[in-house]
Symmetry: C2
DNA sequence: ATAAACCCTGTAGCAACTACAGGGTCAAGT
DNA sequence: ACTTGACCCTGTAGTTGCTACAGGGTTTAT
């Protein structure tokens, strides 16, 4: 009655998470992904946990976080070895940078939405996109 | 009575924009920054326009855009050579990715804010930060 | 049993910086 | 005018974060 754990080859994990198969190996090599179990023939066997972490890493990278920052963020979730105040301080640092990123993206969003509106209205756009992030 | 234009050396531009001095040269070499005027001795002389573009590039990079994407975005602002529908379509593509980034960052923001709240309440945090971007 | 599709390790390439090396420029102080 | 120190120039080499082979072993499906 042991419930079977769904497992994945590297190519399968790559497909599900949308992370390149080579990149998965790279993340393991630099300690971002915990090394998975191996088959008798030495091939990696990934489980759900790995997929979740891979998705988290990919989306964080897309948001401009470095691998070091992502390592930091991941270590927060496994904070048994940290004091509460350490977790609090590290979280606060990242929270500030996240809020700044959201602000900048919203400025860009507004600028682009305005440009689309101008195009739809068929007026000649002056497109001051650079201005969006300099003020 | 000609109003003087404020100009900047590379180191000054680097300091003001918070872009590494070497990186400024790199952006020029790959066509992201328009080449500035030179002094008699051959040294680069930057003006406000360069600083604005540098700040735009830096902040866009921090938001996870590639240099190619940033080139695209910059070219939108100088869209005299494009049809309105081209500008509209390119803007729409970037707008979608920006909205997705905002969504992801807001999930992270909430997770981190919750962790800080838990720490403040002095309860043991379980810190499910990975979960923030996998659902 | 044999082919196709995948995996392994290791290494080499690419993008986007970052940091020299070896020499020239410039501005400030004397 | 001259020196000195901080900066600039070009070119090249190193770093990070991937991405793509090469040469060989494993797995799966027929």
């Amino acid at each position: 009655m042991n419930s079977k754990i769904r497992s994945y080859s590297r190519a399968q994990a790559a497909k599900v998470t949308n992370v390149n198969a080579e990149t998965i190996r790279y993340y393991e090599s630099c300690g971002l992904l915990q090394p998975p179990a191996r088959s008798a023939g030495g091939q990696r066997i990934y489980i759900e946990e790995h997929l979740q972490r891979l998705i988290f890493i990919r989306r964080s990278r897309e948001l401009g976080f470095t691998l070091k920052e992502i390592k930091d963020l991941i270590s927060l979730s496994d904070s048994s070895d940290r004091s509460c105040s350490q977790v609090r301080d590290l979280s606060a640092v990242h929270l500030r940078s996240i809020k700044a990123k959201i602000r900048d993206l919203k400025k860009m969003e507004k600028t682009l939405a305005d440009m689309i509106k101008q195009c739809d209205a068929n007026t000649t756009p002056t497109c001051p996109i650079i201005g969006a992030l300099t003020s």
